[in-house]
């Protein structure tokens, strides 16, 4: 392997820029799942939510980009992704909160459901896989983007990257500094006490689930509308599951989710960049690309290993995944 191809500024800048971009969809889903799980609801259907968000966003963006709404079509696509995510979230909440069904079983079933619905909708609309959305332009932050290296890596992205960073702050603030956030956390720690002090546990959990799935659906749409600008089966690549893992890695904290998602993004970026190098036929082909593609999944297991201990997940919300029955303490 010719190291001079890798050890130069152009490669490093390209690598980290891609890492930040690729972190975005999974980070959005992770943030969403943190909000949901803090309320005590475990939404394992996240990957299905992302697929449904991704296909809905893609279709809206694609079909509007030729019409009078072309200017805002991509944004409408992203919003449609979030809305579709919330529709899935409604199903999640009905099962987890109202019906008090087993959240592991319904979660896994909802993933299969989401994939099936997503693929069905896409295949029903398109017979080929050549449809592309326009995506969003790169927005260079004035002045800051002119800082050497750092400006290139941090301040030359499409708007969804900046929005996601704001959302990390927002979710952190929401959960730790607002009454709504406090309510969500208290029904996740001790729903009985919450109810005694006047909280409607079911309503709070519905809210937290809908917020979470809106973010996951948005994340799925960012991937299909803005980043890959296409949809196909299996396009999510298990990002929803990786987000579920990152929630544990981040110990249910938004700020740590940022770190975890960037690690995932870096693994994904390494994989893309090295593949790009070998395709140009400039050496570096010694590592089979299948092993590069494995990186994000191996990293996910390693990340959990690094944060694990024999006694399991200590900082999980107290009643995570457990349905609430009135009067139970």
């Amino acid at each position: 392997m010719d190291w001079s191809l890798v050890l130069n500024w152009a490669f490093v800048i390209a690598l980290f820029t891609a890492a930040i971009r690729l972190a975005v969809p999974v980070l959005l889903a992770t943030l969403g799942e943190i909000v949901t799980e803090r309320s005590g609801v475990m939404n394992l259907g996240l990957d299905g939510v992302m697929v449904v968000g991704g296909v809905s966003g893609f279709l809206v963006a694609y079909f509007l980009q030729g019409g009078p709404l072309a200017g805002i079509s991509q944004w409408l696509g992203l919003l449609a992704g979030a809305a579709a995510g919330m529709l899935m979230g409604l199903i999640v909440a009905v099962f987890a909160v109202t019906l008090r069904a087993d959240q592991v079983i319904t979660g896994v079933t909802l993933v299969v459901f989401g994939h099936g619905v997503g693929n069905y909708i896409y295949r029903q609309q398109f017979s080929s896989l050549t449809a592309r959305t326009n995506g969003l332009p790169v927005f260079e932050v004035p002045l800051l983007s002119r800082i050497p290296v750092i400006g290139d890596i941090l301040f030359k992205h499409d708007a969804t990257v900046y929005i996601t960073v704001l959302l990390v702050l927002l979710v952190w603030f929401f959960l730790s500094r607002t009454t709504w956030g406090l309510n969500i956390r208290s029904v996740g720690e001790n729903p009985g006490a919450g109810e005694t002090s006047g909280l409607r546990v079911a309503a709070v959990r519905y809210g937290a689930t809908l917020i979470g799935t809106a973010l996951a659906g948005f994340g799925g749409a960012v991937l299909t509308v803005v980043q890959l600008r296409m949809f196909r089966e299996g396009i999510m690549g298990g990002r929803g599951w990786i987000a579920v893992a990152l929630v544990i890695f981040a110990r249910w904290k938004p700020e740590l989710a940022l770190v975890g998602a960037l690690l995932f993004g870096l693994a994904d970026a390494v994989q893309y960049r090295i593949q790009a190098l070998s395709q140009v036929g400039r050496g570096a082909g010694t590592i089979p690309y299948e092993f590069l593609l494995m990186l994000p999944y191996v990293l996910t297991i390693l990340a959990l290993l690094a944060r694990s201990n024999r006694r399991g997940q200590v900082q999980a919300p107290e009643v995570l995944g457990r349905p609430y029955v009135k009067g139970e303490l």
């Binding site: 299969v112 298990g238 599951w241 349905p323």
Partner: protein, 357 residues
């Protein structure tokens, strides 16, 4: 409300449901699933009655169709039976897909290397055993991560799916590629290394192996101490611990058993249908297997019926696609909706039982 009832509600565990619900919920689920499927067919601009007729004919319309459906039932049945044992212990193996691939690889390695050296009987038995062992060991990785490091098996088995599939794709493109071949696939299995078919039909012994597993899993769960412990751990692991059951060993067994059956499904499918190692050799069996186990109420006989139903949907959807250009993925949607309806019916019945009295 008594303490037991609270405990049941707390874990979300469906306790003993009356038989009416055990049998009624799947029927309601199937009706609801087909109804939603009909709506999707209408949306696609086709006639649901005609489409479903095509589906029925495609799955059961003649000897060839019935054989096709039975062949499709085998891998679903194996997956569903293995997961039945695991889910009974509340061990959530969702890595069936990866275990299937590794099973296909392990059994396939035997097929490619020893087909001309070993007697056919030994060859086939060795392939099946290697497939089961491969799947079991791949699942054991997740068990190890859970027992030693407390890592949730849902996440680890899922990540291992991707790793396994990519590994097979690498092997098929690299070390195991057909000598002189251009495609990313291994050489074709020799005739001796394909599942022997019953005379006069396409049904092969893999289907029989799958059917044989029905009584095996039944006996395991209800006639052995091991099965009792699996079910005890699943119902209440705290109680199981007090009763002196070593939960760790059961987790290992549950994962390896379900992984083993998944691996068996892998080598059976690859040596009868694909006859080569390559990517894309599973029809998402790892995930449909989960739904089969749930729809079959985690009971071997129920699982057999559910596997047949899922196979018929999948095979029938192909005729629907040919005749009315409906996407084959419709089958997947109907399957998931059926199971969601069953889960909802269970939860409602369960809530009524424990609230009303």
């Amino acid at each position: 409300m008594t303490a037991v009832k609270i405990e049941k509600a707390r874990t979300g565990q469906s306790g003993a449901l009356p038989w009416l619900i055990t049998l009624g919920a799947p029927l309601i689920g199937v009706a609801a699933g087909l109804f939603i499927g009909a709506l999707l067919i209408l949306l696609a601009g086709a006639d649901p009655i005609k489409a479903y007729t095509a589906m029925m004919n495609g799955a059961f319309g003649g000897k060839r169709q019935i054989e096709e459906t039975l062949l499709k039932t085998a891998p679903l049945l194996l997956m569903g039976l293995g997961l039945t044992a695991a889910f009974r212990a509340r061990v959530w193996n969702i890595g069936g897909e990866g275990q299937y691939y590794i099973g296909a690889l392990a059994g396939g390695a035997i097929a490619l290397n020893f087909a001309d050296q070993w007697p056919r009987f030994i060859l086939i038995v060795a392939m099946l055993l290697a497939g089961a062992l491969g799947g079991a060991l791949w699942a054991a990785l997740a068990a190890f991560l859970k027992i030693r490091r407390g890592i949730n098996e849902i996440i680890s088995t899922l990540m291992l799916n991707y790793i396994a599939i990519l590994f097979i794709e690498y092997m098929a493109r690299g070390p195991m590629q057909e000598p002189g071949g251009y495609l990313p696939e291994s050489a074709q299995f020799a005739a001796a290394a394909r599942m022997p078919a019953l005379s006069g039909s396409r049904i092969h012994i893999g289907v029989l192996v799958a059917l044989l597993m029905i009584p095996v899993v039944y006996a395991l769960l209800w006639s052995t101490p091991l099965g009792f412990r699996l079910r005890a751990v699943g119902s209440r692991s705290s109680v199981a611990r007090y009763a002196g059951i070593k939960v760790e060993r059961l987790i290992l067994f549950a994962l390896m058993f379900s992984g083993g059956l998944a691996g068996l499904a892998g080598i059976i499918e690859v040596s009868s249908l694909h006859t080569r190692l390559k990517g894309g050799i599973s029809g998402d069996y790892g995930f449909s297997g989960i739904l089969v186990a749930l729809l079959g109420r985690m009971h071997p006989v129920g699982v057999a019926v559910a596997a047949l139903f899922f196979a018929a949907l999948t095979i029938g959807a192909q005729s629907m696609h040919v005749l009315y250009q409906l996407p084959v993925t419709l089958a997947g949607v109907v399957q998931a909706v059926v199971v969601l309806c069953v889960l909802a019916a269970d939860a409602i019945a369960h809530g009524k039982l424990h609230r009303g009295q």
